[in-house]
C-alpha cells in the first residue's frame, strides 16, 4: 500500500498508537505524511515519545497525548511538547512505561484493566485520573487499575516485512508488538519488503505477525531522523537542526515547508541524498 492510502484510513479524532522509542525506530515517514494531511484532533498514545509526538504537536494535528515520556534524550527536551504542556494548549495524560504497556495489553486480552503496584506513592496517580485505586478481590491489597488503551490505529516502522504483513525487527523491539496487537488497524512501514521465504529465515526476529497488520509500505529511511538499528543510527545533526527550527513560528514554518510538506524521496534529497545519509549514519 502507499503512504497516502495509510493516511486516508486515519480520520480526524483517531486514537493513534506509535511504536519505537524516543530516537529509535519511530515511523517518521508515516508521521510526516500524517502531519501534512489535514487530519486533526489526533489522540496519541506513546510509551516513550520523541520527534514523532513533537512534530505532530508542531503541525497542530494533536488534541491529546497519553505518554510515559516525551523527549529528545541526549539532546534535551521536546520543544513543541514542552511548549504545549506549559501553555496548556492540549490535553495531556501522564502514564508510566509499564502502565502504557499494560493498558495496551489489557485491550489485547479484552479485559477492562490490568492491576499493578506501579504508580502507588507517586503523583502520577494524582494527575492521571484515568487510573483507579482499588482493592484486590482476594486480600484487599491496594492496587492501581490501569484501564485498557484502545488505539484505532497503530503506526510502526520495522527493518523488513513481507508483502503479507509479517515484520522483522532486528534491534530493540520497544512496544511495537503491543501496539500492533492492540490497535484495530496496524500500518507498518519498513526499510525493505522481502519475500516471505527470505523473511522466514529471521526466526524469532519476525516479531510482527500479519494477522495483526492491515497494510505495509516500503519506505527506506522511514525512521529518519530517528535511528533504525542495525541499519542506521539516529541523525543527531538533523535533530539539532530540528530543535533550532523549533525555536519560533517562522523557523518552524521553514522546517515544515522543507521537510514535512514534501514526499519521502524529496525529503531524502534534502538530507543530501541517500549516499550522504549512508556516509553519515550507516553503522
Amino acid at each position: 500500500m502507499t503512504v497516502d492510502q495509510v493516511v486516508a484510513d486515519i480520520p480526524n479524532g483517531s486514537t493513534v498508537a506509535i511504536g519505537g522509542s524516543s530516537l529509535s525506530r519511530k515511523p517518521m515517514a508515516l508521521i510526516r505524511a500524517l502531519a501534512r494531511s489535514s487530519v486533526k484532533d489526533l489522540r496519541l498514545i506513546v510509551d516513550v515519545g520523541g520527534p514523532d509526538v513533537d512534530l505532530l504537536i508542531g503541525t497542530g494535528s494533536v488534541s491529546e497525548v497519553i505518554y510515559a515520556f516525551v523527549g529528545f534524550e541526549v539532546l534535551g527536551l521536546a520543544p513543541h511538547f514542552r511548549r504545549a504542556r506549559q501553555q496548556q494548549a492540549l490535553r495531556f495524560e501522564e502514564w508510566t512505561e509499564y502502565t502504557v504497556m499494560a493498558g495496551l495489553d489489557a485491550t489485547i486480552k479484552r479485559v477492562p484493566f490490568l492491576p499493578t503496584h506501579a504508580g502507588l506513592a507517586t503523583d502520577v496517580l494524582s494527575v492521571n485520573t484515568s487510573f483507579r485505586r482499588f482493592k484486590d478481590p482476594f486480600h484487599g491489597e491496594e492496587l492501581v487499575a490501569v484501564p485498557a488503551l484502545k488505539p484505532d490505529v497503530a503506526l510502526i516502522h520495522v527493518n523488513y516485512a513481507d508483502a503479507k504483513g509479517n515484520g522483522v525487527i532486528l534491534g530493540d523491539g520497544h512496544v511495537d508488538v503491543l501496539c500492533a496487537k492492540a490497535a484495530r488497524r496496524t500500518y507498518m512501514s519498513c526499510e525493505r519488503i522481502i519475500s516471505s521465504d527470505e523473511l522466514q529465515r529471521y526466526g524469532r526476529d519476525v516479531q510482527i505477525l500479519r494477522v495483526h497488520t492491515t497494510g505495509v509500505v516500503e519506505l527506506p529511511w522511514g525512521a529518519h531522523p530517528t535511528g533504525c538499528a542495525p541499519d542506521y543510527r539516529a541523525d543527531l545533526r538533523h535533530l539539532q537542526d530540528y530543535l533550532r527550527y523549533s525555536a519560533n513560528d517562522d523557523a518552524w514554518r521553514a522546517y515544515a515547508d522543507q521537510y514535512i510538506y514534501t514526499d519521502q524521496s524529496r525529503y531524502l534529497e534534502r538530507q543530501g541524498g541517500v549516499e550522504a545519509l549512508l556516509a553519515r549514519l550507516k553503522v
Binding site: 522509542s21 530516537l23 529509535s24 510509551d47 516513550v48 505518554y67 510515559a68 515520556f69 516525551v70 523527549g71 534524550e73 541526549v74 527536551l77 521536546a78 511538547f81 514542552r82 504542556r85 506549559q86 496548556q88 501522564e94 508510566t96 512505561e97 509499564y98 502502565t99 504497556m101 503496584h117 506501579a118 504508580g119 502507588l120 506513592a121 507517586t122 503523583d123 502520577v124 494524582s126 494527575v127 491496594e142 532486528l170 534491534g171 530493540d172 523491539g173 520497544h174 512496544v175 508488538v177 526476529d205 535511528g227 538499528a229 542495525p230 543510527r233 539516529a234 543527531l236 545533526r237 553503522v283
Partner: protein, 286 residues
C-alpha cells in the same frame, strides 16, 4: 570537591557508583555514568552482573558510552536480545538495577523528572515519569545520582513525585518494595536511614564539609557524629574507566554551553569508528 591529579570528578563518582552494585542482576543504563559504573562494577566489584547495552536490550555486553550506538552494541557483541516485557519482568522480580539521574530529589527520597512547578501549569515541562514509578515500587535497591548538588536539585520537597520516596504513602501501599537506597552527588554519598526514612549522610567526598552540603541542600540532611570520607578510586578503577570511554562521553554530563556542544559533535562524528575499532562487526548481518 577539590581536584586530585589521580582522578577526575567523573571518575571518582563513577567508581563510587560502581561500588554499590552486587549480586546477579541485570544492569541497565541511560547515561554514560550509568554505563561506565556497570562496566567497572562487573570488572572489579560485582562480577555476576548481567549488563545491558541499552536501557532495554542486549544482555551480557560490555557497554560503551555512546550518543547514538546503544542498540548497535547488541549486534556488534552478540548481546542477548531482550524485550521490554522481559525488562519489566526483571524489575517486578527484583532482578534489575539502574542508576537514575533525577532533576530533583527530596528529603524523603522522592524524585522528579516530570515537571518544575505545578503539573497542570508547568513552569518547565520536562519528560514524564517514564519507568521510575515501576522501579520505585518493586526494586530492593534504588540508586540515584545528581551531578550538581544544589538547592535546585536536592530540595525540601519535589514539585512532582515521579519516584516514590519513603513516608506514610509508601508505608500504606508499598512497604519496603522500591524504597530509595542511595544517592551519590558531587559532594557525598547519602542514604535514607535518617529519622522517618529521611536523607542521611553516609560519607562525604574528600575535602567536602558537612557545612557545604547543608548550604547546598534545600533542607537539613541528617548526619552521624562521625562522617566517613568516601573512598577514592584506585588506579585500576580509573584506568578501566578511561579505557572504556576513550572518547570521553562521560565528560559531557558535566559540561554545558558551547564547550559541550562542540564536544558533542566531535564525539558523534567519531563514535562509529570507535565502535568498529573495539568490536569488529560480528552481528547477525555480518
Amino acid at each position: 570537591m577539590p581536584l586530585d591529579e589521580r582522578y577526575a570528578l567523573d571518575e571518582f563518582l563513577i567508581t563510587t557508583m560502581a561500588r554499590q552494585f552486587s549480586g546477579e542482576v541485570m544492569v541497565s543504563s541511560v547515561t554514560a555514568f550509568g554505563a561506565l559504573s556497570a562496566l567497572l562494577a562487573k570488572a572489579r566489584y560485582a562480577p555476576d552482573l548481567a549488563v545491558l547495552a541499552t536501557p532495554e536490550s542486549g544482555m551480557e555486553v560490555t557497554p560503551m558510552p555512546t550518543l547514538s550506538l546503544g542498540q548497535f552494541l547488541t549486534d556488534a557483541q552478540r548481546g542477548i536480545p531482550l524485550t521490554m516485557e522481559e525488562i519489566f519482568d526483571a524489575i517486578f522480580t527484583d532482578r534489575f538495577r539502574i542508576w537514575i539521574n533525577p532533576a530533583q530529589i527530596d528529603r524523603h527520597g522522592n524524585t522528579n523528572i516530570s515537571v518544575i512547578g505545578d503539573w497542570h501549569q508547568p513552569k518547565v515541562a520536562m519528560v514524564g515519569s517514564r519507568g521510575i514509578p515501576e522501579d520505585t515500587s518493586h526494586l530492593s535497591q534504588i540508586f540515584y545520582y545528581v551531578l550538581t548538588h544544589s538547592r535546585r536539585t536536592v530540595v525540601e520537597q519535589v514539585d512532582f513525585r515521579s519516584g516514590a520516596g519513603t513516608g506514610p504513602d509508601r508505608d500504606a501501599t508499598l512497604g519496603e518494595h522500591g524504597a530509595p537506597s542511595v544517592l551519590v552527588t558531587d559532594l557525598g554519598v547519602f542514604d535514607f536511614t535518617g529519622p522517618d526514612g529521611t536523607m542521611a549522610v553516609r560519607s562525604l567526598h574528600p575535602g567536602v564539609t558537612l557545612e557545604e552540603v547543608q548550604e547546598k541542600s534545600g533542607f537539613e540532611i541528617h548526619a552521624p557524629s562521625s562522617i566517613p570520607v568516601t573512598e577514592p578510586p584506585t588506579e585500576e578503577d580509573v584506568q578501566i574507566i578511561r579505557d572504556a570511554d576513550p572518547l570521553e562521553v562521560r565528560k559531557l554530563e558535566l559540561l554545558s554551553g558551547p564547550e559541550a556542544a562542540e564536544r558533542f559533535v566531535s564525539i558523534y562524528e567519531r563514535e562509529r569508528q570507535a565502535l568498529h575499532a573495539a568490536w569488529p562487526r560480528l552481528g547477525k548481518l555480518g
